[in-house]
Structures are given as structure tokens and as C-alpha cells.
């Protein structure tokens, strides 16, 4: 605390000195609406929305790359892309989809939903949250600027050494990839710390861990995975940076390096990464399926613990990516068995979702369709995963199109289908209007069709010998037909994404003539459906006290002893009204996260092109940190005249868990 008391420039006294700013650069931003507010916001909802928007933007880039790949492979000896360009395109497709699309969509929902699901006002460190987003965005843009500055990375998203060395890849593509992912890694790491602290410290009164919504649980597990996995990748990438930029020899075989070092480090990150990508989606459908089955989730504790089990066992399976690499029969056997074992908790989840639907009263809304799509499509990916866990079979299948099919069924049929459902499910909560249901269903069926046409044939292509990462194939191998089907499927898939974008615009236009959507359009179960739609900036007023799992549901319905449900209150009676939010502490907007994040790509450009530029970037970073530290977490000028509702009048006012704004203040001044 001494730190905060000795600060020379902070004005904790609250005395207003017009025109005076703590660091003398910026006037403290105050806008809550308008374009500028988005750049300075620390509101977890705005940040979540920006994560989602950025992810959809990168989805377009990654999607175009996917279509280029598919057009190149339409027929033998395709000539659309050169070998060099193809290698860049497929590398950037994988990198973009993993790091800049699926991860940030997970971050979007985690940011938006976790505080709402646990009854908090914001995340624990709102400015760090803003920084995470900007660092991710700048990192992602930085990687993609490589297209304009000599070409993208050409080593595959796994970037195996020594092919990633300067000798074998003399252009700067890999440097962009490497440094850009270090930046997005910083974003993920700070985001993970932030969300973990938020979940552990900022739950509403009565919200014990075992009363948390499943999405919050799964998102938290995946944040823990990020917390431990990202540093492994970053370490490996720093070694690669030193090799490429500063003549180090970490991966130089001529100097005695073992190239398997990179493989191990990459996959120690890379396998938990799979669960980082999919667990949030599992969480989403664990919310959606009960809502539209009109039944509670079957076996809540099993779903929670199987998710946590995946989080632990996920650390012991990485070498199954390396069965063919020559790690020796003992290692192969060990990792083969651990990989089989991880199928058990995953299978439990599938059966629990199925059992949740059993005996329910199923409403086939768009989110529900995508959820059922996930259950069936992910099952295919899970089962082909079991096939790979059998190491001898994997030695035939690895690095063929069978693997491409497998992980697209996991990450597209699994993670992305779940997120599509989440978009439809939470759209009214975030934007105050529903997406058109008919278009949503058309979206689902078109996506299911395109997805299967694209990726199902790859199973057979792989089993019949088509290698991955080849820019061309010859006639006479029997690859022609299914490649054509896959290319047709890819365009179908792209049109389904286009339909989704159309639906967003169409529904927005139509919404003008419709009554505003209420807080609870789906008859939801968890407390985020208590608050008005779109969510007010302060989230809850007052903070609710939670008494059980699916707390909001049981405010509306009572359950008799024999499991019969009776309505005890209407939604209007138990949902919260929009208030003016007066008297609620909210963290103040700030420029500094943006400044600090902006410095990072400048440093990265500097490492590639000129260390002087890195110095300038470094100065921006230091200035950003300085300004940040000197800036009080709450604007002393901001009006919070009284501490009325939540401190004294709320029904949770006397609970042990502090309200979020207080927590923000305390935690941040320490940090």
C-alpha cells in the first residue's frame, strides 16, 4: 500500500483541479457512448463485443484463406496458388482460425458472460481487460500485416524447427507469426489471470463454486489452461526469436540442438490449447440444452468435474501429436494410453447432454439446433480422436487428411457450432434484438451441410493416402472426386457464414418495428437473464443473492417433491428493471491500456526491421505503463455522490463477497 500513498502525481484526494491530469497527457476519458467510448472503455461487455467483432473480422480473413486452399485443391495440379503462396496461406489459415478466431470468440463470451453469470459489475481488473483486447487485436493485425511486407509465415501453424530457421525460411513471415503470437499470448495470459481472479473473488452473495453456471465453470477451466499453457508457447517462441533474429542456436541441429525440443514445447501448449478452444463451447451448450429442454442439466456435478478432469488430464497427452516423431516405444505407449483415458470425461459430457434432452420438452430454436449439431458432430471428432490414440493406427493416419477431418470436426463441429449457438442465444442479451429464427435455422442447416460436405470426405481422402499440407496432388491417386466435393462444401460453408452476417443486418433493420426484447426471451435459467436487454452498463441493480444452481429459474418456478414444476412468479416480477444506475461505482475508462498495447507491435516491428524502432515502441510501452500506474483506478472527478443501493440497500449488502466496484478499487491499487 505504500506504493499508492507515495505516488506523487495521483490525486486520490478527489479535489478537482480543472485541466489538470495526473500524467499531463490525456484528459481522463469520460464518454460512455459514441465511437470514442469504445477505444477507452473498460466495460467487460463492450470489450466482449469487440472481441467478438474482431473475431468475425478475422474469420473472414481465415475463411478466404480456406477458400483459396480449397480452390487450389479442386483438381490435380491446381495452379491458382504457387507452392510458396500455398504454404503461406495454409499456415496463416491455421494460425488465424486458432489464435484469432476461436480463441477470441471464447474470450468474447467469457468476457461478456462471466461477470453476468456470477453477478458481478465487471471483471477484477477492468483496465487489464481492455489491455488484453487491444493487445490481441494489435497482435492479430500485426501478424496479418506480413501479407503486405514480404509474405506470410510459411512453416505451418505448428512451425516445427529447424524448418522455421532463417536458412529455411529467409523471409520475415515467420518473424511476424512469432512476434505476433507472443503479443496475443500476452493478451491471453493477462486475460486468463483477470478472469480467474474474477470468478474466484467476485461472485455474488451465495454464488458458491458449485452454484456457478456451467459456462462460467468451463470458461474458468480453460482460463487455467491458458494460464499454464501460454507461457510454454511464449518461451518456445522467445527461443525461436533469438534463433532467427540474434543468431542463437536453440534449434540449430549443426550446433547440437534436438529439434524435438520445439515439438515438445509446442504441443505441451498445443494440446491444452485444444481444450482451451472447446471447453467454453461445451459450457455454452450446457446452458442452451437445459433451457430448450425445459429441464435442468443432467448431472451438474459430473459435467463440472468431467470438465475439470479434462483440464488436468489434458496436460498428460501432448506427445500423441508426436507418435511418428521417433520418441521411442515407451513414450508412445504411455501417451497412447493417457490419450485413450481422456476420452472418458469427454464421453461423459456427451451422454449428459443427451440425458438432459431425454424426457424434456424440446424447442428447436437456432441455439438448440447448433447445440444438437455440436453433440453429434463433435462425437465424430471425438471418436476419430480415439482412433488416433491407438498409436499404431495413428502412424498411418497422422499428417494425412484424416487428421484434418478429425480436428475440424472437433474445432468446427465442436467449438464453432457451440459458438454459433451462443451467438443466437445471447444476441438479444447483448444487443436488445433477436436474430431472425427462420434465418437462424436456415443458417444451421446450411452450415451443417457445408461443414459435412467439406470435412467428411477428408476422412476417406486421408485413409486413402492424401497427405496434409500439400499444395498439389497428381492425377491417378484417386483424390479427385472427394476434393471436388470438399471444395463445393467449403463454398456452402462460406455461404452459411454469409447468411449469418445477413441475419445480423436483416434482424437489426426489422427490430425497429418490433417491441423491445425483454430481459428473458428464452425463459432462461441463469442470472444473466435477470438483467434488462441489452445489459445496462452496471449489470445488476441490485446485486442478487444466489441460493442455488439455475437461481433465476427457481425465482420463476418452484419444484414439488416429485419433480413437478409450478410457476411461482412471472418473469416481469423477478427480472430487474432498468435503473439510472446512480450511485453505482463503475471503473472509469482509460486511454492507457490502448497506449500500452499499441507499443507492443511497434516493438515487434522494431525487432524485425530496426532496433531503433523497437526502442520507440519500448518508450511507448514504458509511457503506457507509467501513465497507467499513475492514473487512479477510479476517476476522482467521476460522480459517485452516494453509496446508496448496493452498499446499503441491496439484498446482498452484508455478504462476505464485496461488490465488484469496491473489489476493483482495492485489487487494482495494490497491483
Amino acid at each position: 500500500m505504500a506504493l499508492t500513498e507515495d505516488r506523487p502525481l495521483a490525486l486520490p484526494s478527489g479535489e478537482s483541479d480543472d485541466g489538470y491530469t495526473p500524467t499531463g497527457v490525456f484528459t481522463r476519458p469520460t464518454a460512455e457512448t459514441g465511437v470514442r467510448s469504445w477505444f477507452t472503455t473498460v466495460d467487460h461487455k463492450k470489450i466482449g463485443i469487440m472481441y467478438g467483432a474482431a473475431a468475425i473480422f478475422f474469420l473472414m480473413i481465415g475463411g478466404v484463406e480456406a477458400l483459396l486452399i480449397r480452390m487450389q485443391l479442386w483438381a490435380p495440379r491446381g495452379s491458382l496458388l504457387s507452392a510458396n503462396l500455398y504454404n503461406q496461406v495454409y499456415t496463416m489459415h491455421g494460425t488465424t482460425m486458432v489464435f484469432l478466431v476461436v480463441m477470441p470468440i471464447g474470450a468474447a463470451f467469457a468476457n461478456y458472460l462471466i461477470p453476468l453469470q456470477i453477478g458481478a459489475r465487471d471483471v477484477a481488473f477492468p483496465r487489464i481487460n481492455a489491455f488484453s483486447f487491444w493487445a490481441f487485436l494489435f497482435g492479430g493485425i500485426f501478424i496479418n500485416t506480413s501479407w503486405l511486407m514480404g509474405g506470410g509465415a510459411d512453416g505451418g501453424w505448428f512451425m516445427y524447427a529447424p524448418n522455421s530457421g532463417v536458412i529455411f525460411s529467409p523471409t520475415h513471415g515467420i518473424d511476424f507469426w512469432n512476434l505476433g503470437l507472443i503479443i496475443t499470448g500476452i493478451a491471453s495470459l493477462t486475460g486468463a489471470v483477470n478472469l480467474i481472479v474474477t470468478v474466484l473473488n467476485m461472485r455474488a452473495p451465495g454464488m458458491t463454486l458449485m452454484r456457478m453456471p456451467i459456462f462460467t465453470w468451463m470458461a474458468m477451466v480453460s482460463q487455467f489452461l491458458l494460464l499454464f499453457a501460454i507461457p510454454v508457447l511464449t518461451s518456445a517462441q522467445v527461443l525461436l526469436m533469438l534463433d532467427r533474429g540474434f543468431h542463437a542456436n536453440f534449434f540449430n541441429v549443426a550446433k547440437g540442438a534436438n529439434p524435438l525440443l520445439w515439438e515438445h514445447l509446442f504441443w505441451i501448449f498445443g494440446h491444452p490449447e485444444v481444450y482451451i478452444l472447446i471447453l467454453p463451447s461445451f459450457g455454452i451448450i450446457s446452458e442452451v440444452v437445459p433451457v430448450f429442454s425445459r429441464k435442468p442439466l443432467f448431472g451438474y456435478p459430473f459435467v463440472v468435474f468431467s470438465g475439470a478432469a479434462i483440464g488436468f488430464v489434458g496436460w498428460g497427452v501432448w506427445a500423441h501429436h508426436m507418435f511418428a516423431s521417433g520418441i521411442g516405444p515407451i513414450s508412445v505407449t504411455t501417451f497412447s494410453l493417457t490419450t485413450m483415458f481422456i476420452a472418458v470425461p469427454t464421453g461423459v459430457k456427451i451422454l449428459n447432454w443427451t440425458a438432459t434432452m431425454w424426457g424434456g420438452k424440446l424447442k428447436f430454436t437456432s441455439p438448440m439446433l447448433f447445440s444438437i449439431g455440436l453433440v453429434t458432430m463433435f462425437t465424430i471428432g471425438g471418436l476419430s480422436g480415439v482412433m488416433h490414440s491407438v498409436a499404431p493406427m495413428d502412424s498411418q493416419q497422422t499428417d494425412t487428411y484424416f487428421i484434418v477431418a478429425h480436428f475440424h470436426y472437433v474445432l468446427f463441429g465442436g467449438a464453432f457450432f457451440g459458438f454459433m449457438g451462443a451467438f443466437y442465444f445471447y444476441w438479444p442479451k447483448a444487443f436488445g434484438y433477436m436474430l431472425n429464427e427462420s434465418l437462424g435455422k436456415a443458417n444451421f442447416w446450411l452450415m451443417l451441410l457445408g461443414f459435412n460436405l467439406t470435412f467428411a470426405p477428408m476422412h476417406v481422402l486421408g485413409l486413402q493416402g492424401m497427405s496434409r499440407r500439400i499444395y498439389t496432388y497428381d492425377a491417378g491417386y484417386g483424390f479427385e472426386f472427394w476434393n471436388k466435393v470438399a471444395t463445393i462444401g467449403a463454398f456452402t460453408l462460406a455461404s452459411s457464414v454469409g447468411l449469418f452476417v445477413f441475419n445480423i443486418i436483416y434482424s437489426k433493420v426489422k427490430a425497429k418495428n418490433l417491441p423491445p426484447v425483454g430481459p428473458d426471451p428464452w425463459d432462461g435459467r441463469t442470472i444473466e437473464w435477470m438483467v434488462p436487454s441489452p445489459t445496462p452498463v452496471y449489470n445488476f441493480d441490485p446485486i442478487p443473492t444466489v441460493t442455488r444452481v439455475d437461481d433465476f429459474w427457481y425465482r420463476k418456478y418452484g419444484e414439488t417433491k416429485d419433480g413437478k414444476l409450478v410457476r411461482i412468479a412471472s418473469t416481469a416480477e423477478v427480472a430487474q428493471q432498468r435503473t439510472d444506475g446512480k450511485g453505482i461505482h463503475l471503473p472509469s475508462p482509460s486511454y492507457w491500456p490502448l497506449v500500452l498495447a499499441f507499443g507492443l507491435p511497434i516493438v515487434a516491428y522494431g525487432i524485425i526491421f530496426s532496433l531503433w524502432l523497437a526502442l520507440i515502441g519500448g518508450i511507448i510501452v514504458v509511457a503506457g505503463i507509467y501513465g497507467w500506474v499513475m492514473e487512479p483506478p477510479d476517476d476522482p472527478d467521476a460522480a459517485h455522490d452516494d453509496h446508496g443501493p448496493e452498499a446499503h440497500a441491496s439484498d446482498g449488502g452484508d455478504a462476505a463477497v464485496p461488490d465488484s466496484a469496491e473489489a476493483v478499487k482495492e485489487v487494482e491499487t495494490v497491483g
Partner: protein, 406 residues
């Protein structure tokens, strides 16, 4: 937009039908492996066979589980759908879970997986057991072709005077076990002959074992399966399994060198060209092999393919082009690059006369004219063959010389 729900219903039926037909077609097609030289589903040697023995039951179990889950999802969706006339205030029974059921479906998959684990471990032991009296071959990947060294005298050294160094194609006796050791001279590659065994990465600095054995004589194709840079797609390999007597004759021929001058004057001129240009990177035993050992070329990969017995091979340039033209039934040459049918060296394989009438001169000359145009390479970085700007006369002379290399 009024008719949209109806369109959606039609789309749903269409989509569901197409996907069902697609899955059925894929299952049927996975049994149709004729004309698919890289298929993993037709084992042609004991190692691939033991993998197949595992694949069939495991895939069957996976298939049954998938049908179960899909069937359950479809059945439940149909049976428990909300009816049109349903009372909106009527709720289904609120079941929160059933511990015995949960424990049951935790244990059941664990038991199934335990069974699969037993089979897996047994197969792994089988695949890693060293066969007695194996032929030892060291396989080294480099951008973007494969080198094979035979330890003919079994002294543990692959570079002795009685050992063989060859490239692109690997010749083995059918019915005999071959112990391959994979390694690499530059980046990571992966050696894969799907008909004979799974793949093994070729990692620089590491030496990894892989058993190969072909039941019958034949040609077994492969493809590098670890991304290895620019021309990864063009890095293929070929195993030619021959009878034991042919194999012995092949070995005997490979041990000969080609130091003597050819009698044909064009070929002799070609040899001169070869010595002044090609010999900087390539080796022909008897001409420059000793010199190359003293001053190895400044290549990232270390070497270019040994050409001593070029014409005993059916393919060249990383096995992407046929050295001998398989003439199709209508007498037309196959389009360049369509190499699913491997070129057949005929009698030249064991040192017999080269069938010059059948040599794929068109492609060979095109290659000599401008190799990087036919196969993406980085010759300026010491990785791959450069465009040597040869004259047409030099090309003719070189081809005449190369045709003597049986």
C-alpha cells in the same frame, strides 16, 4: 419472408438427406481402394497388416458408438419434441441426474477403452520387435528427395566401400524384413509407405527405426508426410519389392561404378558436360565420389542425388516424374506428372540394357532445361537444382550420357 419457415423445412430435409447419403457413400468408398496407390486400407506387408488388424475392430466400435449417439440424438429429438398443441405451462419431469447411471456410463467407456488399450500395446510390441536377419537401410530425407544407404556387409557402417548409396527409389527383396533407420540432412521429413507400414519422421540428428516388409513383389508408393518446406508436396518415394534373385543381382550391379568413358561420342561429350557442371553437386561413383568426400558441396542438404545407377530407377526428381514412360493403351504418353503408374526400368534394374526407346526424354530434357520450373525449389539457397542454362546440344549430350548409367 413469409414463406421462409417452409423453405427452412425443405432445406433441413435436403441437408439431412445429403449428409446421410454422403456418409453412406464415404463408407462404401472406403472399401474401394483399387487405383489408389497410397491407400492405408490395403496392407501389403506384415506391419501394415497388424495395424489393419487393430483398425477393423476399433473403427467398428467407433462406428457403433457414433450410430448410437446419432440415433439417440435423432430419436430423442423426435420423441420429446414440443408438440404444437402442447400446454405451455406443462413442464417435463425435472430430473437433476442419476448417480448410478452416471457412474455406469463413466465405467463402460473406460472398459471398452481398456480393451482397445490391450490390443494397442500388443501391436506396439509387435511393431517394435526387431526381426532377425533384416536388411539394414538408412533413409535420409533432404529437401526434396530421399537418399538410401544399404549396409550390405552388415558391419554397422553405411558408408563402406561395399555399401550402396542410392536415391529416390528403394529396392527390397519381397518377403524379407528390412530394418529402416530414418534420419534427415536438413529439416524434419517423414518416411511413409502406407502399403507396408505407418510413417516415421526423419529428424536431423536422430535415428529412428521402422520395419518394412513386402509380401509380394511390386511397387509401393509413398509421400513425405511431415511438412518440409516449399516442395513438400513433391517429395515422394517409391519402394520396389523384387524377387530375392533380382535383389541380389541389383545389389551386385549397384556395387559397380561408372568411371569408364562411354563409347558413344555424344555420350562422351555429355560426360564432359556432366563433369564440368553437374559434378559440383551430384556424384557418380568412379568419376567424382572420392573428390566429393574431400570437398563436399556447399549445400544446405549436403548432397544431391547419387546418379551412378540413374537408369535402374523408374522415376526421378523426388519420384515425381517417370524416367521411363508407361505408354497408355492408345499409344499416347501419359501427361507429365501423372505418375500413379510408376515407370518401369525393365532389365536395367539389375544392370541390363537400358531401353532407350522407352526413356521419358520429354520430361528429362525439360528438367535439364529448367528444373525449378518443373518443381519449386530454392537453388539460390543451396536447396534444389538450379537452372543451368544449358544449350539444346548440351542437353542432348547429357541425356545420351545419363542413358548409359545402368
Amino acid at each position: 419472408m413469409q414463406r421462409l419457415p417452409k423453405i427452412v423445412r425443405i432445406l433441413a430435409v435436403f441437408s439431412f438427406t445429403v449428409v446421410t447419403v454422403l456418409f453412406a457413400a464415404l463408407i462404401v468408398n472406403s472399401f474401394q481402394n483399387a487405383g489408389k496407390p497410397l491407400t492405408t486400407l490395403v496392407p501389403q506387408g506384415p506391419s501394415a497388416e497388424s495395424i489393419q488388424q487393430l483398425l477393423i475392430p476399433v473403427t467398428s466400435i467407433a462406428f457403433v458408438v457414433f450410430i448410437g449417439v446419432l440415433g439417440a440424438a435423432v430419436f430423442i429429438s423426435w420423441k420429446f419434441r414440443e408438440r404444437r398443441d402442447a400446454d405451455p405451462d406443462e413442464f417435463p419431469a425435472q430430473v437433476h441426474g442419476k448417480t448410478t447411471l452416471e457412474i455406469g456410463w463413466t465405467i463402460l467407456p473406460a472398459l471398452i477403452l481398456a480393451g482397445i488399450a490391450v490390443g494397442t500395446v500388443m501391436t506396439l510390441i509387435n511393431l517394435n520387435r526387431e526381426e532377425p536377419n533384416s536388411i539394414n537401410v538408412q533413409v535420409a530425407g533432404q529437401q526434396w528427395w530421399w537418399q538410401y544407404k544399404y549396409d550390405v556387409n552388415n558391419d554397422g557402417n553405411y558408408d563402406g566401400p561395399e555399401d550402396i548409396t542410392t536415391a529416390t527409389e528403394m529396392v527390397i527383396p519381397a518377403g524379407k524384413p528390412v530394418q529402416v533407420t530414418t534420419t534427415s540432412n536438413d529439416v524434419i521429413h517423414s518416411f511413409w509407405i502406407p502399403g507396408l507400414n505407418g510413417k516415421k519422421d526423419a529428424v536431423p540428428g536422430l535415428y529412428s527405426p521402422l520395419k518394412l516388409q513386402a509380401d509380394e513383389p511390386g511397387v509401393f508408393r509413398g509421400q513425405c508426410t511431415e511438412f518440409c518446406g516449399l516442395s513438400h508436396a513433391n517429395m515422394r518415394m517409391l519402394v520396389r519389392a523384387v524377387s530375392t534373385s533380382d535383389y541380389d543381382a541389383w545389389v551386385k550391379n549397384q556395387l559397380k561404378d561408372h568411371g569408364a568413358d562411354p563409347t558413344d561420342p555424344t555420350a562422351l561429350a555429355g560426360k564432359k558436360v556432366w563433369q564440368s557442371l553437374c559434378a559440383q553437386c551430384h556424384v557418380i561413383n568412379g568419376i567424382n565420389d572420392l573428390k566429393m568426400k574431400e570437398t563436399p558441396p556447399p549445400l544446405v542438404s549436403g548432397v544431391a542425388p547419387n546418379l551412378t545407377h540413374l537408369m535402374t530407377r523408374g522415376t526421378f526428381a523426388g519420384s515425381i516424374f517417370n524416367l521411363y514412360e508407361p505408354v497408355s493403351s492408345d499409344g499416347q504418353a501419359l501427361p507429365m506428372g501423372d505418375v500413379a503408374a510408376a515407370g518401369d526400368p525393365g532389365a536395367a534394374l539389375t544392370g541390363g540394357k537400358v531401353d532407350t526407346a522407352n526413356v521419358n526424354r520429354v520430361t528429362l530434357e525439360a528438367w535439364l532445361r529448367n528444373a525449378p520450373a518443373l518443381k519449386p525449389m530454392y537453388p539460390q539457397g543451396g536447396r534444389g537444382m538450379p537452372n543451368l542454362n544449358l544449350t539444346e546440344e548440351q542437353i542432348d549430350q547429357l541425356v545420351a550420357f545419363l542413358e548409359t548409367l545402368n
